[in-house]
Symmetry: D2
Subunit: 345 residues, 4 copies
């Protein structure tokens, strides 16, 4: 009963199989192998537009390198005040941009609104030598609160950003969960809505360690090879990163895994709703459930061996986070819910 994160899970069998296959024979290093060279084509096909794709091993690397490609050291990056890039990456975006300014904006359910963004951009900084130059908007999809932006919401935000001269980045550590959450396609949620560069996550969704920086505007990728190497994120045996990404796209494995994760979160949220005293904190739209638990229930579940992290305490009580990894089963959720019911008495 381990719900601490998606990354407490291992890797999917298909990923291992792909690695084993990639291990056959010798291959050119540093991305010149056949699997790596085919990634642009694969992702371009998925998104229905010309993409430039760069594998890296961690989400933090993907985010920070993507942001560095669209924000100079004298620039400002606008993001949610609780976003991963602002709170959980130990200044990696500042590091790789050479010291850009990160401006965290407020917003409920982990989401930014056009109003908040427009206000932040209305200060007259552009062109003034004193001020950080507004350069990038970063959206998280699915958000830190397990919610998702609709294409219309992204479009509205991206329009304001583009009008202000900003580029738009999407932190898609849980992009797969967002795609399967609604009726929108990968394209609808990204370049068609104004996203310029995407951190495409695979690790949380069942890879060992593989993410891709996907540029929808190839000209933004101009210096990326150098940026990645300079950051120590160029793998010599790149085929092993690329094989994970290729396997994810093969036969829509990535969507299949995410669909299960989301379904498990839905199952969990529905179950929680029947337990007296438990309250869901944010809309459950992806693979995370944030639940306000009475201490008695929390303690009972913990005593049963359930693992989950405290998230926040908003004064109304303590909220806990339950993340459903790609490989959680219906039985896993049922067991957790039984524990919660028992604890509720």
């Amino acid at each position: 009963m381990d719900f601490r994160s998606d990354n407490i899970a291992g890797a999917a069998p298909e990923i291992f199989a792909a690695l084993q296959k990639a291990n056959e024979g010798t291959a050119a290093s540093y991305g010149a192998d056949d699997i790596s060279r085919d990634l642009d084509r694969r992702f371009s096909s998925l998104f229905g537009t010309d993409c430039r794709v760069f594998p890296v091993a961690t989400g933090t690397a993907a985010n920070a390198l993507a942001l560095a490609a669209i924000c100079p050291s004298h620039g400002a990056i606008y993001c949610h005040e609780e976003s991963h890039i602002q709170v959980d990456e130990c200044n990696a975006p500042e590091a790789f941009t050479g010291g850009a300014k990160m401006l965290g904006l407020a917003g409920s359910d982990g989401k930014l609104t056009p109003e908040v963004l427009a206000r932040a951009l209305s200060l007259g900084w552009r062109g003034s030598q004193h001020n950080p130059q507004p350069s990038a908007l970063s959206l998280t999809q699915a958000t830190e609160a397990g919610t998702i932006y609709s294409p219309a919401e992204i479009t509205a935000l991206a329009r304001i950003a583009h009008d202000g001269g900003l580029h738009v980045h999407m932190d898609g550590a849980r992009f797969a969960n967002a795609v399967v959450a609604g009726n929108a396609s990968s394209a609808d949620l990204t370049w068609k809505a104004g996203v310029d560069v995407l951190s495409f996550g695979a690790t949380k969704n069942g890879a060992l360690a593989a993410e891709a920086v996907v540029f929808f505007k190839p000209e933004l990728a101009e210096s990326f090879l150098f940026r990645r190497k300079r950051a120590g994120h160029l793998f010599s045996k790149m085929r092993f990163l690329s094989a994970q990404l290729a396997a994810m796209l093969e036969n829509d494995l990535w969507l299949r895994l995410a669909r299960n994760a989301n379904a498990r979160a839905r199952q969990l949220a529905d179950g929680f709703a029947t337990i007296p005293g438990v309250r869901i904190a944010y809309p459950v739209q992806a693979n995370e459930v944030f639940a306000l638990l009475p201490e008695k229930i929390r303690a009972g579940m913990a005593a049963d061996g359930a693992l989950f992290h405290p998230w926040s305490d908003d004064g109304n009580g303590a909220v806990y986070r339950f993340v459903c990894a790609f490989d959680k089963t219906e039985a896993d959720i049922a067991a957790l819910l039984r524990s919660a019911s028992r604890a509720a008495g």
Copy 2:
């Protein structure tokens, strides 16, 4: 009638005289001259404690270098969301710290409160490898809103900061104005209240260009010589920076100049109070007056040739900033007030 800033003024005659005197003969360069070598003693005497003092030419350099001395590249700096270091230094603090995180906190009248700071520090970041490490608190004295912190207020904030493992920086671009504003001494407002390093401003107060980074904990200054040089802020003919600072301290010139500036702001605020329709936005405690002006009055004053900057519009009307430089006279203020009265009709 130029009230756009303190830095539209030139330099005080005493400063020029000091420069002329410093120009006699040859002198060792890069800070080894007699005037420069005497600065530690002068400032230590002023503050009544052992200080290490480093002249630089701009306030941004002083702030960013001071912050770099107390915050690592993986650290976080807490400051007011409207502070100069956050808004008006084009990412210099990020640059010189190597990419530290700047976290702007809200607060009325340009001031931070213990509550806001304590909340920001309560997130459990310290020691967690994911999070920026809380490292520095920066207070502005006088603030961007022309208000001042009392020794008790600084003490309360510094205590929270120190308890959280942070060092405390004070941006004293208008420190002189703060000192003469109350009954507190330079020591009361700094190291006795918990300030570890001060950006001591002289430029706004009548120097050509001279600021000093003053360390109250000498061990924090260990690498400062290298940091300053690496930033291009080591002057070869350092005597010309040091002479300005020495002249400021000589016979309390700095306090005399600041006292005049503050008195002029008081005169202006009192005058505005008698003009129908004009409202003072923040308490006038130093040398700045923020006034809500009806458009008719603003336009009339502008037509008379008065120069002043728009500051904000809080929905209740447009606020304008009037800064009284060190050399403004009673007659200057009277003329400005006459213009305002005339415009008010």
Copy 3:
């Protein structure tokens, strides 16, 4: 017949087995899993001294992060002018140190001498605010030229470095090859000889992607957790990095693989020696052979499908590099030599 690099090889079967085993069940993320937590013990046992060990995925990350731990942004790093950190890491050391100075020194066979180092350190920079502060010496073991430093050579260099206030780093991307090349132990070649921090390579030696930064002075590792995360090099599913490293140490797999690689290089060099017109450029001490090939032989081998990189042309003819990966067989070398003999006519 692929001899372009060690990294054109895949991963050893034992490494895959270890990954499969590590994939069982859930595990705490970000290094809190059991395998990761056991690494300090494993490496401390190997080296016979207390070590702090941090897995990363690439050699460039290991080197640049290790150097950042021992060299401030105003520091200087001394290394061989042809070393990987100077030539082949696209400024990663500069990036992670925040802009330290890299000073490449000359030396034959890829090696530095005490004389050259002593001369470089004799310029009186230490303590002078104008100069980069001498902070680190970095040695490559095995070197870029396929040679190795003896314990006595390392000791002599490290003594000069330590006397000058520098820390000593070893780039051990091919450390395994160096260990099996002589009679010296891992300890003899590192901390006993004065090495303070080691980049311990596993990727070239049969891992998918795994390196370890090994600190022999734990106090140098103080900020390393933050540095690694800030660089995007903290893996969420860390167990997959750690499992590779643990498998390498298990039953001396790393030495077994390196021994084979070195033996194949010896076999190749001995074979080349019998072919008229072929000349060995540097002493063959690890798993690399640098050979001066007449154009006829090069062309013939290439026509047979042999892959290898040109290295340099010193005026006496073109030198080519042949790297023997961990999994090359006697038959592989024999085939290559047959091709060379045939081409030689």
Copy 4:
């Protein structure tokens, strides 16, 4: 008898007069004043081409900011191994470029040759993701050895640089001394010979503290306003920097001062030539004399109160540097020579 550097001198009377004049009245800050706004015109007129000019206060700032404008963080800068930017700026170029690679090349008399540069650029780094990207050549004029490059020499070097995709920077801390040393104009020595950006020095030549970054290709200056501010090098009372630069150009003051400095160096070198045992180390072309002094003579001069710095010891004896500041007189030199003669016995 102070010959330690040009910067042991104070400022010329004309500079003080200009500062006094600039002090009249209020003026827009941060470069919007009339004097500052006129600098582009003044320098464009001087150089006979369209220039963008940015005043800063120190030579290190000018150099490092200029280099940052033409070299990305993954780039490489080629310079003389003894150049100021490599040896004497405590990594400022690395700091402001965000960690570019500095590559010091050898060359006698402080000068680079086309052969050495061509060889350094022949390594095939351009476009390879592993290598620092060749981006800038920096020449010092006059050099650290007091020699000057002819227009033909600059042209030859700049052509190789441009052919390799590099921009060309000139460190002109003593540019005035170079201009008056030969028959070449300011234009001949810069943009006509292929220089893209110049650090135009005034401090050593009689200013208090003023340098200018002069772009001959305006497009390179695009982000310079932000870079300068971010580095803390934007002066609020900019008129005081600009006034020094304007005064230098007025009536060719800068050339007059430099002409005297060079003449004094010539006088000194000629005098030294008549003293047995003294040998001139480098050609004396600007305002510096490097002389090999027997210990007896050195000691005697020191005993007479002469101040000068040791420079190097090439095995043939100790070389000392004598710098003639802008305000040295014939009598000053004569006195120094008398001392040397006396000491020679």
